[in-house]
Symmetry: C2
Subunit: 342 residues, 2 copies
């Protein structure tokens, strides 16, 4: 049997096509009792609206704006390039992608950008959130005016975003600790932690997960307080170099933000009694090179392609009021080492 159409629903409910249409599209002018009869018929027939036909008829387009931090963060640049490269693929499906970059680590700037979006030109927004109240308010504002929002990479769970597309960063931190613990096994000493900035929720969460496992499973390793490098390679290099001078017993380094070129440079010029194990985040081309060179031991990654596709799937579903299947949208915490580079 072919799938039921609105005609079948109309017949089953004993109403006209027009009425079914009114119910389906939430237009007014339908009595409560009639509406529920139509709903009952839809459920009985297991009716599902044919979105392709609906979109064709509506000449609908989904216009989705990706709002990303500006700057030298390679991961973000690769994310931007990823969105760019998906453009054509999605255009076939009536999805238009836009990109807007805003200053990093700056909640006010991000909120401004969100507030100034032209709502007549955007149906959905995917934003890498900075954790600041104004950002939450801006998201709420968008939501109120009918624009659906998902957060990417770094979440803002208190805001009315419809979904978070990204990895579980606590798990990511735990994973890093598990790896570093293994790699440093038996050697004791300190572990340096390099963060971007603690206004990014993902960094905070990674630190949290990292400490959980460190304390529980590797008590012989001493995790040092994080240094904040603001995802800037030069600053990271400077701060980490100073730290390595002070702590000669560093046997492991966990870099949970960006600026990993600074990590590599600081380690190269420090003369440590033994090579430290290094775990970083995001498989950018730099991280990949250092992995191959044997400088980094592991890279924890979130797949950019999966994230973009998931963001688009979720946003179009939210826009249509369709349900999303959370288990199909989970982004995995990936581990890369020298031997499994893609």
């Amino acid at each position: 049997m072919p799938r039921p159409t609105i005609h079948d629903v109309a017949k089953a409910a004993g109403v006209s096509l027009a009425t079914v249409d009114r119910v389906l599209n939430a237009r007014n002018g339908v009595r409560q009792s009639t509406e529920s009869r139509v709903f009952a018929a839809m459920k009985a027939l297991n009716y599902e609206r044919d979105i392709a036909a609906a979109n064709l008829s509506k000449r609908r387009e989904y216009r989705i704006m990706f709002v990303l931090p500006k700057g030298g963060n390679s991961f973000m640049r690769e994310l931007e390039a990823g969105v760019e490269s998906f453009r054509k693929t999605f255009e076939r499906e009536r999805v238009r992608l836009g990109i807007l970059t805003v200053p990093a680590f700056d909640g006010d700037a991000l909120a401004d950008a969100l507030n100034q979006l032209d709502l007549d030109e955007v149906d959905g927004v995917a934003v890498v959130a900075t954790d600041a109240p104004v950002v939450g308010q801006a998201i709420a504002g968008l939501r109120e005016r009918g624009v659906n929002v998902v957060t990417m990479v770094s979440d803002l769970p208190t805001s009315p975003r419809g979904h978070f597309v990204g990895i579980d960063n606590v798990v990511a931190g735990r994973t890093a600790a598990g790896l570093l613990g293994r790699f440093c096994f038996g050697s004791g000493g300190s572990v340096a932690v390099v963060a971007g900035a603690m206004v990014l929720r993902d960094h905070v969460e990674r630190r949290l997960g990292f400490d959980q496992v460190m304390r529980a499973d590797y008590p012989d390793l001493n995790a040092l307080p994080a240094i904040e490098g603001y995802d800037d390679a030069d600053l990271v290099e400077k701060l980490l170099s100073e730290l390595l001078d002070r702590h000669r017993d560093v046997s492991g380094i966990y870099s949970l933000g960006a600026g990993n070129r600074g990590v590599a440079r600081a380690v190269a010029k420090a003369d440590l009694p033994r090579r430290p194990a290094i775990v970083v985040h995001e498989l950018t081309r730099y991280a990949r090179a250092e992995l191959q060179a044997g400088v980094f031991d592991a890279v924890i990654n979130q797949d950019i392609g999966h994230e973009i596709r998931s963001a688009v799937r979720v946003l179009t579903a939210l826009i249509d009021g369709r349900p999303i299947v959370p288990s199909q949208e989970r982004i995995r915490v990936e581990i890369f080492m020298r031997h499994n580079l893609p």
Copy 2:
């Protein structure tokens, strides 16, 4: 500007709508010269056919059959359950999924099943290939009669399959070696290798990659010849127990096929001088439990959801004659350890 339609193409080429349609759908009755004028116009306008509209008009459905090995292999059963759970999602997009199970490790049975598929009811086939000439011939037969085929999990590169959906198994083997090498570091000794059967190309390839890295990077570890457990837990248990009796210096185990419950049982009852490091494939619920229990050290995985989605995307593209974007279809070699379980 909105995307061009066949009307625009017709106007631009100076022909009628009907002729454009003839060209577009490769019907006959169009002169060579006219055809090329139409193609030129399409290129000039950058025309792309609206597949949603076309499918609506054609009342097209994509009927895709997944052909999987029968039996107690948990990974395959979870793959089957995965296909089942994707059914509803894809039905919305006019894609109907079917499942056919055939005896495992049996090229003839698989070939028979493929040959007996009702071609009026199937547009595309995703098959977990057994490496046998008859299977290649069966795939060629399908292809000739207009059915598109992709291989999944285990490839058959010599056959005319349109694509392979799965991980690079050489890389997977290399990854396993990298992990085991790390985990056994300094302890020397032997490494046991448990395979399913060498008629499965994925198993052969994993072994290959494993040996590459073992020899190059961990010469102090001695990789033993593989035992073939035919993905059967009881047989694996028996064979591995015997092996562990003979080789008291086993410090690591790599199970590159299924039957991992047998691995866990054999290790539990053997009394070895020290706990061996264990790396296995496929994050089934059993593997997950052993990982959590600290029996398995790492699990190499291919994400079933990604594979199913990729298979469907690729098959529908092949059926429509659309191009596929290989970089978007790559399946990652995932590593799971205790701390990054999803």
